[in-house]
Symmetry: C2
DNA sequence: CATCATTATTTGCATTTACAAATAATGATG
DNA sequence: CATCATTATTTGTAAATGCAAATAATGATG
């Protein structure tokens, strides 16, 4: 393995960390954090998600998510409800206050995307996104082999 | 802003987290962690780096790095030395034990790169890396405007 | 050489994080 | 319907993290 800046996981982490740090700093005055934004963004896409689903989408470990949601509930941003279909599960719903905060965060998030992709044309930007999706899917190969059901 | 999976920072974090989690799990039996690997990899590229430099290259916050290095020193992987040129700075050096651990981690790291880029040809892989470097550089625009010196 | 602004690292401390174990509910199976 | 394996979430607890303040050393400046 040669220089760090030819190593993909390094480049990925470096870029991700830099966006994350800058974004965190920027939303702090609004009383938000990056993790809160991730949850709100996931619920904005689809409200009433379960904890497990939310954990998967946000890449936040479930036990961490539980406590993050505790805090968001205290702030009145979301509400836990027992899932109608399966009472083991908890469905999370945004409140009006949560929606208002989301509305303030979306433009910031959009700006980050714009800045990050400055100088990329539409084709290049889409190629990058496609590559990242592909990369994510490729990692299936390293997952603990799942027991087959049935 | 539309669906999450069209949002670049989301894709970036998702891919990065997935690699990070899998890698962490895999190196745990060796007594290593992802952060330890990051430090060792940076020192492998260039030994005797200062803490600040190391923090920048690894994306680990300096105060966190200090304590991480404390632990690595206790494990005998690295040694702190006062920087020759500037006694305010601390230069970090790998020990033989650190080198041995690095040698065991490199093949694992290489495998991660291979798996992540499965199905990419050389041109596509290089394009992705170039895009990530570019994206990282683009974030300069959001940095707190630095006071000019002189 | 004392003072002072600057830079590099460490420490204090409160919060966040993650693994593992505990709890809660489901859906068979007998 | 009691039992049991399975799935979803939470809790216990120790370690990692990050901001802010403290410490240490430098390099002018007088």
């Amino acid at each position: 393995m040669g220089p760090l800046d030819g190593y993909l996981p390094y480049l990925l982490n470096r870029a991700g960390s830099r966006i994350a740090t800058a974004f965190s700093e920027e939303v702090r005055p609004l009383g938000a954090t990056l993790q809160i934004w991730r949850v709100l963004a996931a619920l904005r896409e689809r409200d009433g998600r379960r904890m497990g689903d939310l954990s998967e989408t946000t890449s936040i470990e479930v036990s961490t998510l539980t406590r993050l949601v505790d805090g968001m509930e205290k702030k009145g941003l979301v509400a836990r409800r027992r899932d109608a279909a399966d009472a083991r599960a908890v469905a999370l719903h945004v409140t009006p206050a949560g929606r208002r905060l989301t509305q303030r965060l979306v433009p910031i998030a959009e700006r980050y995307e714009t800045v990050a992709l400055a100088g990329f044309n539409a084709v290049e930007a889409e190629a990058l996104k496609a590559a990242l999706r592909r990369l994510y899917a490729n990692m299936d190969a390293l997952e603990k082999p799942q027991r087959l059901r049935g």
